[in-house]
């Protein structure tokens, strides 16, 4: 091994192959049938269950768990997927500790919720491993819908529309479909190419054509789509990344966390992805944690996650924060970037400490850094879009935008958490409104 943790600069191959395999393996290994039955037995089958209310897609959780407990995991999968066609991915990436599992009455009773997320994965994996697609298309309506973005919102919308008999064309800027499922989630959360295989499975419904490498504003325009299709759904996410806005932001080694995460996901071998010796991640969300943890897993000696507010304000859940800590990521709070120092490439990054009101305390912090990841939020890109609500596309409760015949959902639309599961729900619900509109 020519490189190790102490090698300065941004280099690949800091670890042994075995260490990469261990680090990037499944964060939560799949439950085996026995574990699933034990976990399912703990569900109380609550009335009007709080877990359902907490789920952005309203999955009937007690019912699917009872279906697992009674030996019919495929029926459980259908219960899940009928509400959330990406239930398999959501089972892997949902912050369940903030959603269904937080609401679980056994969390209240004994601090140990039913393992809803892992049971959901058990059921969906069971069905998908057989290549079974449990839904079929209604008679073809002759209506056509353009969907922009092949991420969770777009694919959810496309599937629901296809199921109702509409013909859907999905335009996506990247070379592979899946959106953030494919490019934006930590490798250890979705191993073995699950994002791709889920898309392949989803497309079995038929009636959906995916056109990759087609970006809105570059290769296609909203006007064209409106002219050619009966309806348009915008689900292209947030293509831009916020800048640090400080001196030295453009130095070599200062990168976007989303690109780092995407590089890892697309790398044939994670060992080929270079990482710094002293890595600083700026931000407090899932993307920041995903980048910081994976920098450690790649063998970075020091990884520091710096967030401008307190831990309680971090978008990353407590589980994610603990995960980062358990992997050796140091979390610094109440610090905002002041300057990136270095001669060409970054050498140090300087922060101002701030109080809860974001006022500088006068104290500063300098961290050695040969690699800095920006993870302070993403922005909507493009013009000639429907009216914005703040920095995102404004939508009503049905997903309708200011432009007639154009709906939007997912991260590019205002409202809702920027979660996979929320995007799926918004795509699904917009599809139902598009369907109702087209068939009126």
């Amino acid at each position: 091994m020519s490189q190790n943790a102490f090698t300065p600069g941004i280099v690949a191959g800091r670890l042994d192959a075995a260490d990469y395999n261990t680090g990037f393996s499944d964060l939560h290994p799949a439950l085996d049938p026995h574990e699933a039955l034990v976990a399912a037995d703990r569900c109380y089958f609550c009335h009007d269950a709080p877990c359902i209310t907490a789920c952005p897609t309203d999955i009937d959780i007690p019912l699917f768990i009872r279906q697992i407990a009674t030996g019919t995991p495929d029926a459980a999968a259908k219960t899940i997927l009928s509400q959330n066609i990406m239930g398999g991915m959501c089972a892997r990436v949902c912050p369940t500790e903030q959603l269904c599992e937080e609401a679980c009455v056994r969390e209240a009773a004994e601090g140990k919720p039913v393992l809803i997320g892992q049971l959901q994965r058990y059921a969906t994996d069971h069905l998908q491993a057989q290549g079974v697609h449990p839904f079929s298309r209604a008679a073809v309506t002759g209506k056509t819908v353009a969907v922009v973005g092949a991420g969770p919102a777009g694919l959810s919308c496309a599937h629901r529309l296809a199921m109702h008999g509409h013909d859907v064309v999905v335009f996506d800027a990247r070379s592979r479909p899946g959106g953030l499922n494919e490019y934006g989630i930590a490798t250890y959360k979705t191993v073995d190419g699950y994002a791709q295989s889920e898309v392949d499975w989803l497309l079995q419904i038929g009636g959906i054509e995916i056109r990759s490498g087609q970006a809105l504003g570059r290769d296609i325009t909203l006007e064209q789509l409106r002219a050619e299709y009966d309806a348009v759904f915008l689900g292209m996410g947030l293509g831009g990344v916020n800048a640090l806005g400080v001196d030295g932001d453009d130095r070599d080694g200062v990168l976007d966390a989303v690109d780092f995460i995407a590089d890892l996901r697309q790398a044939g071998d994670v060992a080929s992805v270079p990482v710094g010796r002293d890595v600083v991640v700026i931000g407090g969300g899932m993307t920041a944690v995903d980048a910081a943890v994976q920098a450690r897993l790649l063998g970075a000696l020091n990884v520091t996650l710096v967030y401008r507010r307190g831990r309680d304000r971090m978008n990353a859940s407590v589980f994610e924060q603990d995960l980062a800590a358990s992997k050796g990521v140091r979390i610094v709070t109440h610090a905002v970037p002041k300057a990136v120092h270095g001669n060409g490439a970054v050498r140090e990054i300087e922060f101002d400490y701030v109080d809860d009101a974001m006022a500088p305390t006068g104290e500063t912090l300098r961290l050695a850094a040969d690699q800095v990841f920006r993870a302070i939020g993403q922005t909507l890109q493009g013009d000639a879009l429907p009216a914005l609500d703040g920095r995102k596309i404004g939508v009503d409760a049905r997903g309708r935008t200011s432009v007639d015949g154009v709906w939007a959902g997912g991260d590019c639309a205002a409202g809702g958490d920027d979660l996979t599961v929320t995007a799926v729900a918004e795509g699904r619900d917009a599809a139902m409104d598009i369907h109702a509109t087209l068939m009126a």
């Binding site: 034990v38 037995d41 109380y44 009007d48 709080p50 009455v105 056994r106 009773a109």
Partner: protein, 434 residues
């Protein structure tokens, strides 16, 4: 530590926990392990007549019913009496009894319903030094088809006749084990009593099919694609067994007939409940087969702690204590009024009480938007279903209303006086139709 010494029909044992006649007591090896573990006595697995032993099935003998987490709640079996040679068993019984003189060793017997058969085997059993015999009139499968076991236990005249032979040809106590597969348990008990039995033991196992394989359509346990009813036991049968024990205990004609209680005894508490209903001791099988012999240690410590907490110094102080409180429905006090009460601090808001009450009972639980569940006293009949379905112990309780208070459901003042079915004004049919 309370003294748990048991004297059951003159048979002494250091505690009232015996292993029932069953696979755990089939041979010397197991029985020695049981005694080392602390069991007070054993009823040796049923012996048959001299000659070639019975042949058991060579496939599954047991079927099971599970609760959550595969907790075994009920077990059924299609095993027969001992399939080992009579003399092997007798020699082992002799050795074990000699080595454990302070433990009870009872020999279970099942031979054909002929005087000669009993006359032949009883002297052999007498020679072993065992403390008594138990007549297996309960086995519901296999042996019953040969005119033994439950086939005898279901005919009171046979019970009396065979019991009489045993008292004639055997000098030590005779216990008659009863089958529950009859309509009125008091009839076979009375027959045993009339035949001179020193005690009855009950229940034997209940006719049962535990499951059906939906691929092969065979009942289970399945032997080459076919299944037969087997004998059901374990925690699931405890309520049936306790009812039958109490029926004998409170029958005027049978009062004083000693009872060995059997049926789903799993913990010290189960044992104490059987004893409170009139059992002088208890016999255990399924719990040992599920968890091993060590469970007796919990039974000993639990019963002892209970007795200490109640200031009891002898197990005789437990036996029969609940019998006076077992009555017929017609004597229940209809002036007693209770209401469900939900402890909001303990409630975890699962809503099971609401679903049960709203869907299947009296619509007496209200649910607020923030999932607070409260009892509507105007509707609550105190049926107890909410208590039963609540996953949190003591979260919902039944609170008796104080006499003088007004029951908001009926608008009537709760009376202090007792009034049963025949006297309560709300009952139009206060006299049974003749």
């Amino acid at each position: 530590m309370a003294d748990l010494t048991s004297d059951f029909i003159g048979i002494r044992s250091p505690n009232p926990f015996w292993l029932a006649s069953a696979p755990p007591t089939d041979k010397e090896y197991n029985v020695r392990r049981a005694f080392e573990a602390g069991w007070g006595g054993v009823v040796w697995k049923t012996l048959g007549s001299e000659g070639p032993p019975v042949v058991n099935v060579n496939g599954p003998r047991y079927g099971a019913i599970y609760g959550a987490d595969r907790r075994l709640l009920g077990l059924n079996n299609i095993e027969l009496i001992t399939d080992r040679d009579l003399y092997t068993n007798l020699e082992e019984i002799t050795r074990v009894k000699a080595d454990y003189p302070d433990r009870a060793v009872i020999v279970s017997l099942m031979v054909p319903c002929e005087e000669g058969a009993w006359k032949a085997i009883l002297p052999l059993v007498e020679e072993t030094g065992a403390d008594g015999i138990e007549l297996n009139f309960g086995c519901p499968h296999g042996m019953s088809e040969r005119g033994m076991g439950a086939a005898v236990g279901q005919v009171p005249e046979y019970i009396e006749m065979v019991t009489r032979w045993c008292k004639q040809y055997y000098s030590k106590p005779v216990i008659v084990k009863l089958t529950p597969n009859i309509t009125d348990i008091r009839k076979p008990a009375a027959a045993a009593h009339a035949g001179g039995a020193d005690a009855v033991s009950l229940i034997n196992t209940i006719n049962s099919i535990t499951s059906v394989n939906l691929d092969t359509m065979s009942p289970e346990p399945s032997i080459d694609g076919k299944g037969s009813h087997g004998g059901y036991c374990g925690p699931a049968v405890k309520p049936i067994a306790m009812s039958m024990v109490s029926e004998i205990a409170r029958d005027p004609g049978l009062r004083g007939l000693p009872i060995s209680g059997i049926g789903g005894v799993t913990t010290w508490r189960d044992a104490a409940e059987f004893m409170a209903l009139g059992a002088g001791n208890v016999q255990v099988c399924t719990a040992a087969m599920t968890y091993g012999f060590k469970i007796v240690q919990e039974m000993i410590s639990g019963l002892s702690d209970y007795m200490d907490s109640k200031g009891m110094t002898s197990i005789d102080e437990i036996v029969g204590r609940a019998v006076p409180n077992v009555t017929d429905w017609q004597y229940l006090n209809l002036n007693y009024v209770a209401k469900a009460k939900i402890d909001q601090d303990l409630c975890i808001s699962c809503g099971r009480c609401f679903a049960a009450c709203e869907d299947t009972s009296h619509q007496a639980i209200a649910m607020s938007d923030d999932r607070t569940f409260t009892v509507i006293d105007e509707e609550c009949v105190a049926c107890n279903l909410c208590v039963n379905v609540c996953p949190v112990e003591d979260c919902i309780t039944m609170e008796a209303m104080t006499p003088g208070a007004v029951d908001p459901r009926t608008g009537r003042t709760v009376e202090a006086d007792y009034a049963n079915w025949t006297t309560h004004p709300n009952n139009p049919a206060s006299n049974a139709a003749e």
